[in-house]
Symmetry: C2
Subunit: 555 residues, 2 copies
Amino acid sequence: MADTKEQSKSALKKAEKQAKMAAEKAAKAAKQATLHIGQGKKTDDIIGITTKKTEDFSMWYQEVVLKSEMIEYYNEISGFFIMRPATMYIWNVIRNWFQERIEDMGVEETNFPMFLSSKSLEKEKDHVEGFAPELAWVTKAGDKDLEVPVAVRPTSEAVMYPYYAKWIRSHRDLPLRLNQWNSVVRWEAKQTTPFLRAREFLWQEGHTAHLTEELAGQEVLEILELYAGVYEQLLAVPVVRGKKTENEKFAGGYYTTTVEGYIPSNGRGIQGATSHCLGQNFSKMFDITVEDPNEKGKHINVWQNSWGLSTRVIGVMVMIHGDDKGLVLPPRIAKIQAIFIPVGITAKVSPEAKEKHYQKLDELKLSLKKVGVRVDADLRDGYTPPWKFNDWELKGVPLRLEFGPKDAEKDVVSYARRDTGEKGTIPIAELTKQVPELLETIQQDLYNKADASFKEHRLVITEWDKVVPALDAKNVVLIPHCLSIDCEEKIKETTKSNADDNQDVPEGKRAPSMGMKSLCIPFEQPDGLVKGETKCLNPDCGKMAEQWCMFGRSY
Amino acid sequence: MADTKEQSKSALKKAEKQAKMAAEKAAKAAKQATLHIGQGKKTDDIIGITTKKTEDFSMWYQEVVLKSEMIEYYNEISGFFIMRPATMYIWNVIRNWFQERIEDMGVEETNFPMFLSSKSLEKEKDHVEGFAPELAWVTKAGDKDLEVPVAVRPTSEAVMYPYYAKWIRSHRDLPLRLNQWNSVVRWEAKQTTPFLRAREFLWQEGHTAHLTEELAGQEVLEILELYAGVYEQLLAVPVVRGKKTENEKFAGGYYTTTVEGYIPSNGRGIQGATSHCLGQNFSKMFDITVEDPNEKGKHINVWQNSWGLSTRVIGVMVMIHGDDKGLVLPPRIAKIQAIFIPVGITAKVSPEAKEKHYQKLDELKLSLKKVGVRVDADLRDGYTPPWKFNDWELKGVPLRLEFGPKDAEKDVVSYARRDTGEKGTIPIAELTKQVPELLETIQQDLYNKADASFKEHRLVITEWDKVVPALDAKNVVLIPHCLSIDCEEKIKETTKSNADDNQDVPEGKRAPSMGMKSLCIPFEQPDGLVKGETKCLNPDCGKMAEQWCMFGRSY
């Protein structure tokens, strides 16, 4: 009898669990359906984010990028996204910042065709193997089959280098440094995510040729530092600079340097942007040579680099700074840095008094514009101040400036910070000084908060048993590693977690369960690794450790 | 006997002619082969343009765009071209100029996917018929066939408008004004020409929605005026503003406005850029409606526009201003506006004197930079001044500044204008004043010259028999026209010329032989057309003339 009771209790519990899961699934599907409204359908605005960042991170992210009007799903073809003006503004800030700096380095702009012949592609074997599964092939024009199909570029090494061979005739043609801003197509089989993984994305791709390895290497690092600058200085996102392992380097390249980010919500690492030294691999295949300036008659292959930064950067920024109210934008990349909202204009206020108040508000706005603040005022009729507060919070505007008759009486403007919610007042006489300072403070605080979180979750680990628990606790780990490809592959298998089986935790809340992969070999190495003494941390390996390597579950 | 003599004479003449033609063809083929050097091949530079603009215009054009390093042929896939830094600089000047102005109008930037589903495309019948023959179809990803093939956008109406239906919910969402900078693909069957007709080209495409026909119409003209500004103010190219006939309007649109240019060398007209009012055609197909603000419950379809300006503009500029020495760039779009070249530094000049002279030259250069002149100095060793003169002339730099010891003695800089060849000296004390003035003069003179030529070759014609001779004499013509599609098609047939048969004239020198088509109905109409009295000029037509219409042989 006792047994039966236990059994029925357990069966009941199981049924409850299943019902709970089914309900969760249904709720999720309903939400997803609301997000992916088809064209033509007109529904009322759903104001506000309905999923908590800590409850279901991936659903939260989808809601934020959609409702803040950064992204629209392209229903016609899966894996593609529409980038709306809120996105393009940020991308253009980044583009202009980076463009100015590479121009100073002497990099010139070019534009190569978007199609690739299979002939060129096949020249570098490792390269073609890396990209072949994701190539989109054009086989027809109008109703005629093409004699030779052409692929949409996944990256332009094979498009450009035949012409480097033509244009580089002497060491005086070096360095040749070209960059282009375009979109590329990689027909991913994996699940796509706005900004992070899309079948088409915007980027810049730089392709340069140098006389020596040293000159090429200098540029690789110079560009990497600019990529770090985009993250740290513009997006307030901390990154770790380092080198990719052999296993993770660019297909066909010599070595790859990278800036790596970290998403606190799920503890995953994310590749930020990569700057590759291609060595002489491509110049040998494409026959790009010059006469050695030090030895007449001797031909040497040039040293090449390629480097790219994509719209992915925007997704990383959204994931790190956003909160349950929506987007949180760092002031330096915000189209609107401060939004004025009139408050306290009740029915009791006379039309004349209202008119006068709005005039004052306009004066304040103009005074801020004059000192370079990107400021606007929300004077829409028919919306309450709280509705407007929510709307601008959703869109991530860093600073809200409230101005009502009571503020006017006291000669102040009230403010609320988007990042911390902190409220206060600024004397009108101080406005043009304090608002720019406050924006700068917000920028710094966003960075500092993200930096503290990344530092706290980057664990130096010297005991293998602590690795998986560390990952499950949303950390990335630094471990002594042999840097061999085999060992890394094994680690990926042995660090898979059971989190998936833990059905008590709702799907959206669960830690990722995949095995960890190497993120980079950080340039800044912890102490304590003795070459020839310290062993690779993987207990199945047995080789000596070469360097500290940062591993993590990752995007 | 006399007969036989005549016969053999005639046969000899014929043989001579054939031999001459064969020789010409062989020479042309050889030249073409030199221009299209494959990758990997390294040959010495061919300095200078070897074809005269008046001898073989199309060969001259090819040489200019290649040797000035604006363009490289993409040998891998025919009909595609590489745009080199010399081109991208100009495109970016245009882009920035235009972008600034449409931002002021409230147009925001967006980025839609490059692929189009056939489902969306098929919604507007005329539109799909217009573009279907030139669509590039992606049918495979990796080694898998796509379930549904997707086309690369030839233009983005069908990509974007499903989302306009989603985003536009109320008249408060109007106007919706979006623009994107991208490349589009039209797999042309016709012969391609760098800039003018390529299978992929860069452009901007604006897509807007308005509440009324009037508001849409205002924007159409505002944009057209910006397009005219790109030509007239930046590229020093005169254009005629007008409306396209029904026969030549945008596929699926309501009406098309256009700026039309003229190439003096062959007398051909060329479409410069078009600004379309789409009317309600697309909004009906894509169901883009709002509630009428004046009548509750009544839904009205929005009024839409689309407008585009492409890299074609650069080709028109090259064709008009270039000469037998190469490119001639208007100063406002020249990356280098003035080039300093040291002269008279003979072996007799001591190293100290040379050093001092170069220092002075550098000071002069900096003084010009400070006043905003884009100036550089060619201090390359191993090249003579005349070689450098040729090189910078080929590249179109508007102003050459020579500075030698003799100039230094007299406190002057010698100059040579690229456009006219005019030479003179400028006192050093006047340099920062006179050089900017001179550049502005060059800009104006280039425009005035082209404008005079276009005016001279835009003939108002009221006798049908004068039409073909006018075309053969490299004119475009303004004629009274009924504006009907049939009549226009007939005119295209009846105005073909016999120029092709005229084998005495070398191929490259012959006037184009195709029939004329309508270029536009100019907004500025000549006098003398009386509605209901003046007949359509086409003698086979018989209908009454509606307006003066500009016809020409054209690109």
